[in-house]
Amino acid sequence: MIQAALATGLVGLSAWAVATFPRSVVVFLLFQGSLLFVYLARIPRWLRTALLALALLVLMPVLGHFNGYYLEIATQVGIFVALALGLNIVVGLAGLLDLGYVAFFAVGAYSWAIFGSPHANIMFGGGFPLAPGWFYAFLLVGLLLGAGTGVLLGLPVLRLRGDYLAIVTLGFGEVIRVLANNLDKPVNITNGPKGITPISRPPVPFDVPYAEAFYFLVLLIVVVVVLVNRRLEDSHVGRAWEAIREDELAAQAMGVPLVRSKLLAFGCGASFAGIMGVVFSAKQVFINPESFTFLESIGVLAMVILGGMGSIPGAVVGATVVTVLNLQVLKGFSLWLNELKNAGVVVLGYNLADLPTQLEPAKYERMIFGAILVLMMIFRPQGILPVRRRARELGTP
């Protein structure tokens, strides 16, 4: 009861605060924190759903209207949440270490980039870009392409174990990126390092601004992905994945078809990445191979593990934390330090304006991120929201 009031109050208060101080990173962080609190609080289910829906469907877009930066963060969080959930199936549930996951993201992104821009004219003569409405069809294409690529890669390599699989997927990820970087000759498919632009944006109903439209689209996809994830996890398919993760040989001996189950995991994970790739390319208007590096794959992996391997809320929170940390907290922190410096604030008798450029805070964001990763692993190795095992209702014999 107290928690219910607290949760409702917190969401309201923080939303009000964001509206009042639209530039304060700390206040926005409070808002994000209140959402987590709502999720974790012991409150009735309807209230939780209502509060989350209110916050995500109404408050967020409104706040985003005051400050597009927040909406951008929310949208990118959504994109990474979907990626993390996809990878969570592969790594968290099925236990297959995939270090080249971003390759599937790239495949989806390039599919719409090529046909949703004039670039395809180089290969097919004319008629491109496709009408923007095709974007919605390409969501499906991205999904299928992602899944197809996943299966294609999976077929030969899934009998590899552990780190051997990891290195092959790493190699595959690099192959896809290098291909994207090089396939501007002999036939120009990807336009190489120069990238593809302009990529059409989808038509939007009711003239919703693009930023809001993409936010809602990403949110919708995330909801679907979460739902699919939950249903898969809580079925014989999910149990088979988990069994494979625990003990491949025993799982097989108990009747779990290894290759088929693993392919399914690979395909599912890849399809989420594929669909988000399509969204990403339309949102960015421009893509080139630099968005699909190995570090990007590592980033998504860090999200999954930071959140708690195999846990759906964990993947969501992990993706959020990493993205918010990178785009918002660390950036906000360096901007704040920069302001102090510009204002010539004196700390312990030392004028920050005299700070040598070598110590410029913005340069060391990644160093801090690295330290945070290490500390998180040391102090919370099971992740932020580890899997909680539900007690099962026992059927009557």
């Binding site: 790594v91 270490l97 030969p156 390599v157 009998r159 590899l160 174990r161 780190d163 051997y164 990891a166 290195i167 092959v168 790493l170 190699g171 595959f172 690099e174 192959v175 290098v178 291909l179 970087n181 090089n182 000759k185 002999p186 040989l249 001996a253 190995f294 590592i298 992996l301 860090a302 593990i305 930071l306 391997m309 040598p356 070598q358 110590l359 340069k363 060391y364 990644r366 160093m367 991120f369 690295g370 330290a371 945070i372 990763l373 290490v374 692993m377 040391i378 190795p381």
Partner: protein, 323 residues
């Protein structure tokens, strides 16, 4: 296609590949030793490697400033920076293990992996910070030692420089020493025992923590040596230039069969040769349609093929898991 050209450069490309391969092999040892004992990929090893290179260059720059670089005989200088690079990288590796990995013993396997990635990020920018303050630059150039650059012209197109020979000789010597250490000494046996079963090893009176530290020390030192040789051979280093060779070396370790010391060496050499031949020949063979930019694709494709046919790497144990 120009057949005489293709044949003519063959020995040179082979040599280039061999040098690169030995470099990879030395780095790969760090991955393989850590993997062998703790079964996780030490992503920070690429930074440990580059720290070796930085220690080497700092000493060289210091010696040049003091005017010793010309005064001392080059083999002595080289030995000095090698030892210093090995010590620096080895100690760093030991500290990293103490701080970032030891608290995670017994956690699921991917946890230390993420910690290692964190360490890797941290170290990259830490090196940069330190060098920025110290030298106000973090792209450092190895001072040239003329004696090392001397080339022996074998034919018109083929030659070999002293430093290339040094790299090969040093790599071979170190690989041999390590092999002997691990297989012929009591400490080496203890390392292998710990690799297999830590609890059982501790019941033998083996201080598992010390052996693990030792493993990091050795792996780090090999990486540090590779770093110094890398700097001497290729000239320019920065805090981020360890990353790609690290990734390649790790690939080499897997290619050879991860956890397997001779495997790391074979894997490194195979990968080095593959890369060198791809970079030199692809363009010549395809009339320019595909070029050196495809060398990594080529190397990785071969890797994937090899693993499909030998799922435990070239030298990995193929014993199936016992049911």
């Amino acid at each position: 296609m120009d057949l005489p050209l293709l044949v003519g450069i063959f020995p040179q490309v082979f040599l280039d590949g061999l040098i690169l391969g030995f470099m990879y092999a030395l780095i790969a040892l760090g991955y393989t030793m850590v993997y062998g004992v703790l079964e996780f990929i030490n992503f920070a090893h690429s930074e440990i490697f580059i720290v070796g290179a930085f220690v080497g260059v700092e000493i060289l720059l210091g010696m040049r400033a003091a005017g010793w670089l010309e005064a001392l005989p080059w083999p002595l200088v080289l030995l000095l920076i090698l030892v210093a690079g090995m010590a620096g990288a080895g100690l760093l590796a030991v500290s990293v293990e103490r701080i970032a990995y030891r608290p995670l013993r017994g956690a699921p396997r991917l946890i230390p992996l993420i910690s290692a990635i964190g360490v890797s990020f941290f170290l990259q920018d830490l090196i940069r910070l330190v060098e920025s303050i110290w030298r106000n630059a973090f792209n450092l150039v190895y001072p040239t030692m003329d004696a090392l650059n001397h080339r022996f012209e074998l034919t018109e197109t083929i030659d070999v420089s002293v430093k290339s020979l040094v790299v090969i000789a040093a790599a071979l010597a170190m690989l041999w020493a390590l092999h002997a250490l691990v297989n012929r000494t009591k400490i080496g046996t203890a390392i292998r025992a710990v690799a297999e079963d830590q609890a059982a090893a501790s019941l033998m009176g083996i201080d598992v923590n010390r052996i693990i530290s030792l493993t990091f020390l050795i792996g780090g030192a090999m990486g540090g040596a590779a770093g110094v040789l890398f700097g001497v051979q290729y000239g320019l280093i920065n805090p981020y230039s360890g990353f790609i060779p690290g990734l390649k070396a790790f690939t080499a370790a897997v290619l050879g069969g991860i956890g397997n010391i001779p495997g790391a060496m074979i894997g490194g050499v195979v990968l080095g040769l593959l890369e060198a031949f791809a970079a030199s020949y692809l363009s010549l063979l395809t009339g320019g349609a595909f070029g050196a930019e495809y060398k990594d694709i080529f190397a990785f494709s071969v890797l994937i093929l090899i693993l499909i046919f030998r799922p435990k790497g070239l030298l990995g144990e193929i014993v199936r898991e016992r049911a």
